[in-house]
Symmetry: C2
């Protein structure tokens, strides 16, 4: 029997392979696989649902991840998928599997973080499954939201000339992870090396405790904005831009000097000897929102009080370009995350 | 810091502890944790959602579980939770985490089973997450269904004198598991011992490839039955009866000679030297439906063409009793499954 290695296909290859097997047939299924959240319909409203799984040793390392932060992050990751459809999440279901290396207090810690997130974002935890594992911690979450028809922002509806915007800043979550890994290695080499993270506070915080950008959706609502397309940045800016442009059958042009980069991203990149653009373009787990709005709408909105940055625009020309500070065009390719 | 072992609390203890932390506040949440599926409401319809996780080494052993069957079973387990609310499931979201010991073909096999189940039960797979694990296979599923208000069968609404009924037969799934484990051990001891499962076909099939009882819901619809309460048997008859009677604040009386027991359950119990009543009362993973209906309704329905058995009735008296063939009363206690 033929054996193809999973690594040969990669994550997206496998997902595509799975998708190709399933065709939606129910009238109540408006959008299945292929966006951040699934959309299902009742007679009057749309229901959005999304599910994600976090695995110890793959998505998190408990040697530097407090369980409370992990619980909070699990919820954020899932809420972010509903928000990135331009919809408010309402409920979550959480499954956890734990080995006997965890105590009840540890489970408490995890759910403290989940509860904190639920309270902060006005979410009900409405179900799930609790079971054991042979080793390590496995958590999965499904988020559900409801919205009126006509307001959902899919990946496929970007328009040529739309202004591409991103919330917040980029690169911190990825660099925060590298810093945590470095400090862990230093500690393993010599337990007297107590990690001092005070210089990297915002990097580490973005990695361990990202925020789902509900405030951006609030801003859209109060400014009558419905983005033509939207996605959250879980796999990196490049990867998400390619998702949207492929789904919408467009190209894009973004400008290096427009990328929202904080000083600590420059300094940490230098310290870690990596190209800061790599951190910005390919760093995952930012959970910022990437979206596009028509030029006239963009020009009519006051962005002074919200951290939204225009990066460039979508084009009929299919090329995917980053215009460097020097003026040189550079083709954007996806590196994304590949856990396999 | 105090450390309580998870095993000290047990599964239900932990679930209760988690539940006590969360209070539903959204108008759209009709029923959160505490039943087989969560109920959320849009303006006109109820949406039901339920999520479950299966872990290699805990819930399944790939040495005797074909991946295709496993995918099918994952869906059944989740559909069963929606059906047990007296509602038809419509969509599922599936998360999988796989280690590199699995090939693409193996993943294909798993999804073949998922697809087979979706086709058979008219379900759309609408989302999920695919990622890697350090060891073994982890799969979780969320099922969603829609229904009119007023038709949902909760655990809490059993009434005194209601006839307690169960679909199908009991004990096979549990005995099937014991047979598979025995054959595996024989094979490990001596690889020349090729397992011959031909005498245990229905036991093994019920374990590896259970059916969610959609046909029972069809029967309810065509006979204008809305069960006062319903639950699916995942943890064993005793455990589920106690769930309902505790939720409904009632006792019950069931009769040993009414229990639906097939000949192969008697013979396999004898062969394995276990009490067949233990298999019937405490064997999990049956995915049969346990429900109650008022006496007059029960008497008006023709059960000739459907495998539904009356077991006894609920009582105002809080005692939970099995009336043995001898006439002796025996108190029912939950053993349930305890993975920890």
């Amino acid at each position: 029997m033929k054996r193809t290695e999973i690594s040969d296909l990669g994550e997206f290859g496998i997902i595509n392979q799975i998708n190709s097997k399933f065709k939606n047939t129910k009238p109540s299924t408006v959008m299945g696989i292929g966006d951040d959240a699934a959309v299902t319909s009742t007679s009057k409203e749309l229901i959005l649902s999304s599910s994600d799984m976090l695995i110890e040793g793959i998505h998190f390392d408990l040697s530097y991840t407090p369980l409370k932060h992990l619980g909070y992050k699990l919820v954020m990751v899932n809420l972010s998928d509903i928000l990135s459809m331009n919809c408010y999440p309402s409920q979550i279901l959480v499954n956890i599997a734990i080995s006997n290396k965890f105590s009840v207090e540890a489970v408490d810690e995890l759910y403290e973080g989940i509860k904190f997130a639920c309270d902060e974002y006005d979410i009900d935890l409405i179900g799930g499954d609790t079971t054991s594992s042979l080793s390590g911690l496995i958590i999965s979450c499904t988020a559900i939201g409801y919205t009126d028809k006509g307001i959902v922002s899919y990946r496929k509806n970007a328009r040529p000339d739309d202004i591409i915007c991103v919330s917040g800043d980029l690169g911190r979550a990825f660099l925060g992870l590298l810093i945590l890994q470095r400090e862990k290695n230093n500690f393993i080499k010599d337990p007297n090396n107590q990690p001092d993270l005070s210089n990297y506070k915002n990097l580490v915080e973005k990695q361990l405790r990202p925020k789902a950008r509900k405030d951006i959706i609030d801003f859209f609502r109060s400014n009558d904005i419905i983005p033509n397309c939207m996605i959250d940045i879980s796999d990196g800016l490049s990867s998400e831009l390619l998702h949207i442009s492929n789904s919408s059958n467009l190209g894009f042009k973004i400008f290096e000097d427009k990328l929202p980069i904080k000083d600590d991203v420059f300094s940490a990149s230098q310290e870690l000897d990596i190209n800061y653009l790599d951190a910005i373009l390919n760093g995952g787990e930012e959970y910022e929102l990437l979206f596009s709005i028509p030029v006239d709408k963009f020009e009519s909105v006051n962005l002074d009080k919200i951290d939204i940055s225009p990066l460039g625009h979508f084009t009929n020309d299919k090329r995917k370009l980053l215009v460097e500070k020097s003026g040189k065009n550079r083709e954007i390719k996806s590196k994304g995350w590949n856990h396999f």
